[in-house]
């Protein structure tokens, strides 16, 4: 499935193809989609789910999207920005991909997206949604099918405010996404929190923070600690005996299907925000959850749903232009229209090509032995991000 640099056969094939290049690409030729994602090293669970979700949509159509043959090239970025950049260059130059997707991390997206969109490639982000690309650095060929990074934090801010909590203690890692998270939260909660703490990126031990937190006597805690950091924090928070006294709130990242198994019962009952859950009631979602489980033998995660939606969005636009990407403007308009059945139900793009969507409030519950989430409410309806105003397209 993946293509190497030194596949001799491939090089020869390319040399032959080069001779034919003068002829315009006909609609019968497969559309090439490049996926750069993280398949090895830390955080690979996310990349694997995005890939599997995307592949599922492809398989459902028998290797086609929107009725057109698609050739998917997947490469592993190993979470290194320079490697992602190099893969992108290669995909554009050698594989002549016209559409790209797959990047998980904001820093890799910032490294890759501006360059490839400038080169005329369409980029559909299945995860990373840094503020730069939603605001100042937006581009007409860039679409984010998942979220702007702040969305879920904003939803939590609104929910916590609505619930009437008054003494909030909030914490996040000391890096841009962490700062964005807390400012996103405060955008809807208000600036008045009794504690705002930044922890070390990759930190494992939160005893010091938890002790200080207990001392500050908050009535609720909001945290954004993605990956292993969140697992550690929740376990330690629960061990400190605080779970029953001071409720915690967080975005879906620490309560997702990829992670819940590792947190265990410590997460039970925690309220979190997400734009998707497996119990959203629509036909597309039901079918997706069922076939994902059948294909991979596990529950789909948020990231899998995003990968799947990315593929379905692309499919809808390919269908609109009959698979002919030389009609770039028509293709762009079709992407913008987003006429596909999202697993999230209602879905549309804002002016900056970021989702305008509902954000739900979920609770971690147990179904049999399995921890998962249940929707208990809605924080936002048709929520748009805060950076759209900065976007001059």
């Amino acid at each position: 499935m993946t293509k190497g640099l030194l596949g001799t056969r491939r090089l020869l094939g390319l040399a032959a193809a080069a001779a034919l290049l003068a002829a315009p690409a006909s609609a019968a030729e497969p559309v090439k989609i490049g996926m750069i994602t993280t398949l090895s090293g830390g955080g690979s669970a996310l990349g694997i789910d995005v890939r599997d979700g995307f592949q599922l949509a492809l398989d459902e159509e028998g290797g086609m999207l929107g009725g057109h043959k698609v050739e998917l090239v997947v490469e592993d970025d190993g979470r290194k920005p320079d490697k992602a950049k190099e893969i992108a260059d290669r995909m554009v130059a050698r594989d002549k991909v016209q559409i790209m997707t797959g990047i998980i991390w904001s820093n890799l997206a910032i490294a890759v997206v501006p360059k490839v969109t400038k080169d005329g490639v369409f980029y559909v982000s299945p995860n990373a949604g840094p503020s730069l690309l939603a605001g100042k650095g937006c581009h007409r060929n860039y679409f984010n099918v998942a979220w702007q990074n702040d969305n879920l934090h904003e939803a939590m801010g609104k929910h916590v405010k609505d619930q009437g909590f008054e003494k909030l203690y909030i914490l996040a890692p000391n890096y841009p996404a962490g700062k964005d998270a807390l400012s996103g939260f405060k955008r809807f909660y208000g600036d008045d929190v009794i504690g705002e703490v930044y922890t070390k990126l990759g930190q494992k031990d939160y005893a010091a923070e938890i002790a200080a937190l207990r001392d500050a006597k908050p009535d609720a805690v909001f945290f954004f600690l993605p990956g292993g950091m969140g697992i550690s924090f929740l376990k330690q928070y629960s061990q400190a005996g605080l779970m029953n006294d001071v409720p915690v709130f967080g975005p879906a990242f620490s309560f997702d299907q990829t992670i819940l198994g590792a947190v265990g019962d410590a997460a039970l009952g925690v309220v979190n925000s997400s734009q998707w859950n497996k119990d959203i009631d629509n036909a597309a979602n039901k079918a997706f959850v069922e076939s994902f489980q059948k294909a991979y033998g596990r529950l789909p995660s948020l990231y899998a749903s995003q990968g799947y939606d990315a593929a379905r969005l692309i499919a809808s636009a390919l269908k609109a232009v009959g698979g002919d990407l030389s009609k770039a403007d028509a293709f762009r308009a079709a992407l913008k229209a987003a006429e596909f059945d999202s697993v999230r139900g209602s879905f549309k793009f804002g002016a900056n090509h970021h989702p305008v969507q509902d954000i739900y409030v979920r609770e971690v519950v147990k179904e049999g032995d399995l921890l998962t989430n249940k929707i208990i409410g809605k924080a936002f309806t048709d929520h748009a991000d805060a950076y759209a105003g900065d976007c001059k397209m």
């Binding site: 694997i48 494992k204 031990d205 005893a207 010091a208 923070e209 002790a211 200080a212 550690s232 005996g241």
Partner: protein, 304 residues
Amino acid sequence: MLLLIEQVLNGLQLGVTLFLLAAGLTLVLGIMNLVNLAHGSLYMVGAFICASVAGATGSFLLGLVVALPATALVGMAVELVVLRRLYARDHLDQVLATFGLILFFNELVRILWGPRALFLDGPSWLSGTVEILPGIPYPAFRLAIIVLGLAVALFLAWLTTRTRLGMLIRAGASNREMVSALGVDVRWLYTLVFGIGAMLAALAGVMAGPIYAVEVGMGESILILTFVVIVIGGIGSIRGAFVGSLLVGVVDTLGRAFLPGLLKLFLMPATADGVGASLASMAIYILMAAVLIWRPRGLFPAHA
């Protein structure tokens, strides 16, 4: 004041966790003169084995009982196949080969257990909190770690100073020929010591499992902390590892807990949060630099 006491306790607990890892590493460093980057991998393997067994049987203790010898076996196998050939080599070779082992183990664990983090919780009788001082409930599991760490420190002190094995170990460090002359096969002695080191790493991994995330790559970040501990304490010295661990644990914890607050006395709150968090994350490295200026071979150099 109470908060300060609690934070110092937190620091000690972090230090003890580090000590479990540092003790095994410094033993191998000091005796075999081998720098083993893959020590963190053994920590990870221990945690994963324990998590699987505990997940299947529901018993943390059973997981612990299986994980320790299993990891020791893994460690001894690695010693037999690879590391044994590296004792006579220079440190660069050791760094490179064990760097390769890290890549190998991370990927192997990912193939065997998948990319997702695993669940591991302590035994239920340690799940609550203990009120150590009025108004300070402290997690029982963390207290258990402190107790266990101190017990391991005492055990190692006894092992290296009072037993025949300890004597052989110390003799082996300074004089391979003499130990050989005593009729002891140094090669097996080294394998055994490596097994003990691996078992200590597994113990650290198992005890860290219920507190931290059990995930691929969990060994590396803590390995670097462990290096800082050993540099501060002095290579090959169990005592140095103990003191170094506690120092690093306390400095790191107090830095995180109080630096931002302290800086708020001089700086704008927003700036203080950022600068404080940055400084706190660098505090232990600054500590290391300070110790180096004062004592280039650590606080308790084992060999002259």
